[in-house]
Amino acid sequence: MKTSPPKRPLQFLRWFCREDYLEEIEGDLIEVFGREVEGSPRKARWKFSWNVIKYFRPGFIKKMGVFEPRNNYGMYRNYLKVSFRVFNRERMYSLINVFGLALGFACCLLIFLFIKDELSYDKFHKDSDQIYRVASAYMRQGKWEPYGSNSWRTADLIKANFGEIQQLIRIRDDSEVFVYEEKQIIERKIAYVEENFLEVFNFPLLEGNPTQALKGPNKVVISESAAARYFGNNPAIGKVFDAGDGAFQLEVSAVMKDMPANSHFHFDFLISGETQRQVSPESLFTNVGWDSQYVYIKVEPGTDPAAIDARFPDFINDNLDPFNSSNFKLFLQPLTSIHLESDTGLELEPNGSLKNVYTFSVIAIFILAIACVNYMNLTTARSLRRAKEVGMRKVLGAKRFDLINQFLTESFMMTFLAILLAGGISVSVLELFNQFAGKAFSADLLFQPEILLVIFLAFVIIAMVSGSYPSLVLSAFRPLNSMKGAGKTGKSGFVFRKGLVVLQFIISMGLIAASMIVFKQWQYLKTKELGINQEMMVTIPLQTMERSQLDVFKNELFKKASIKGAGTSNMKLPGWIFNSTPYKAQDEVVDAEAGKSMKIIRVDMDFLSTIEAEFMDGRNFSGEFPADSSASVILNESAVAQLEWKDPIGKWIELGNGQQYTVVGVVKDFHFESLHREIPPTIFIFSPDFLNYAYVRIDGQDVQSSIAHIGEVYSAFVTNRDFSYSFMNEDIAQQYEAEEKFAYIFSIFTVLAIVIACLGTFGLISFSAEQKQKEIGIRKVLGASARQVTYILIREFLTLLLVASLVMWPLTWYLANNWMGSFVYRTQVGIQPFLIATVLAMFIVLLTIGFRALKAALANPVESLRSE
């Protein structure tokens, strides 16, 4: 009886088994089956099936399902192999290519980190969208002047009048000397906060109870690092600080984690609000004009902040006498917007700038664009050499789609290399970047899942974008032409590439011009004549010096001959003049316009002469006129202009305190505040107390010993504080640190953009030289000189550059003027940044392409002409 083996197991076997084993296995199985089927067919069938199943194991199963060996696997392997070979053959081009892309990508990565961090401020609080800061603004000289702060009393009234406010928090920042056993440290990051502070803001505690920690007087919550500073590894809870020179004690009730970097304030000590009652004068709590508190509110979910803002004017009129809605304003700032958008006269810490975030985003995109354009240009330029390969592939049956696939694969590979390199670059320059950007990014930040995802997306997008054009161009080669060696692409393709180069030129020249303008403005701010002599001026905070001893102090200073002058004032110069006073004045056209005010600065007799302010009229305060100590003022020019006085000397002016003063002098306007602000109408009033800063002019000859002398004298008068000083010119320059940083970061990215663009230009000139090989050969045969040929090659680029200039000039002009518009005092944009940018770009381009062009021009025409 001839019995055949069971069908289904056999089918199963044929389905899964490797084809090269199948025949043997099938044969053997059938033979075994044939032997056994005579004895017992059932058993034989069963055994056959069982045997088949036993072959269902890794060694015998063919590649299945997703792993099914598609025949393009081999093709991809070939693509990779060819890519590697090409990479190796044209190592320089490839490295330029990858390096350019990596540079661009590294820039973007860092800028992305920066922007992401800037945008993340204060978002870590659980209900950050419900928290607002109540900021205020005063009408000063016809403009609203915003402040981040408010008074204690105002906050009380707000809480009572606005039902939608769930919680209200007052924060008062301060600095104080803390003493614990031998340790005595001036702490500058302390704040008086209310007991619900830790409920509204999410600052996790390491130890202590968040609901109890700030309840009651004399409690303090300290940060982890402050705890380490005072107590090392010992427990901090229950320890007691002496503060305010023995005025009060503070018991540590909790230890919190250090406030995260992306918070708009950072405090090491949170002192319970109750403590404030003991240490502050009563008027702090009753005077609505004493702006000591930063007021934060948490509103009911779904509350519209605009609705609260709309009710503020009525609230002010009803409750905040002497203020009214025409001279005082309250407004809400969303907590998360404070860091980037708030720029008021009083901020807890210097804030960021939304403008910078925008600028850097644009620069990042520009740089990436240049890098991608580069890649396209270089790849397409190199592609000519691969025309034969493309032709061969087409002849062997590659469809256009396959070639696109191939070049995209290559693009992915290059981009991948670039990204690895970019990662390396970013990590290695992170430290430098941190210094510039004022951040503390660590390298592991780059490996957050979120960032990795962005990198991956960027990888795919960049690879697709920069690979798209070369792959489309290359895949369009006609096999016959390309095999013949005349891989000339269409005219339109070249126009497109020229367009890309023009774009690169526009961006890089625009960046050159813009960074020069930024530098110019910064230089202008730094060097503008301020109307005073800020050189060799030493500024000393008086701290706890007995103010009645000031004259004695000054006399002691003058015992050294190198001390040329000394004056005091209540404000730090440079600095924002906070104090302002309403006034009435002689001969004034009394108009209905309320809220007229002037800034007021308290000075001693010698201040104006020490800083060398120039008098227009009248005289300085003097000891010879006893009335000066109580009834004289000096005005600045702007004040006189506001009063519309022709002959100011001897006229009277009545200030907010109800006293009348006689004007004895007029000083020329000088910049007390930074150049970001206009010179305000200012009254200088002679005052023996409330003075906080001494300004000492010293001889330039012996700075060290002069300062040592000042320090010695100072220490004789102030025993419980350390001597500290600063140079006025440095303080002044420091005000423009933001501009400086901006200018430097800008120029760094400009240089990078130029480098990357040069790489691209180099690629294109190579392309063009190669394409015109025959033309050059013929020209040379017909007698053209190397110089003429070089000129022909370069001409085209100079044209592109000029075209780019034509676009760049007005564009940058417009943007630069826009940017300058935000400065009160600004330099002229001028024409020279544009000229320099164009000339510089031309120079760089000539340098980049000159050698390549010359090389092409010097080539022996035989080489290029004999090939056909």
């Binding site: 084993y21 044969g27 053997d28 059938i30 033979e31 075994v32 032997r35 045997n51 194991r57 060694g59």
Partner: protein, 108 residues
């Protein structure tokens, strides 16, 4: 000789391939072994061993002619390679070496 490792069953199959010389294919090896060992074996085990040893270059294979009782499928014949032979020799030498060191006295 890690790369020349030879499992116990592999060794048996290899021995059988060598013994059958030029007549060794799946079924003949199987029945030869079944006879020697006196128990029934699974053909798949033989194939696994053969494939492994082929990868290790202990055996090489070729297709034979078509025969009727296999439903038209060709046999695949295996022969031992020089390397395979050497490995067998080494294995044998190793075993007999150690075997010879067994002191006779212990079974006295």
């Amino acid at each position: 000789m890690a790369q020349h490792s030879l499992g116990e069953f592999e060794e048996l199959v290899l021995l059988m391939v060598a013994a059958l010389h030029d007549e060794a294919y799946g079924v003949s090896i199987l029945s030869g072994l079944e006879k020697e060992l006196g128990k029934s074996l699974n053909i798949s085990a033989v194939h696994v061993a053969l494939k492994r040893m082929e990868e290790k270059d202990f055996v090489k294979s070729r297709f034979g002619g078509i025969t009727e009782d296999r439903g038209g499928r060709r046999k695949k014949y295996y022969v031992i390679t020089a390397l395979g032979k050497r490995v067998l020799d080494e294995q044998f030498a190793l075993r007999s070496n150690i075997y010879n060191r067994i002191p006779k006295i212990s079974f006295g």
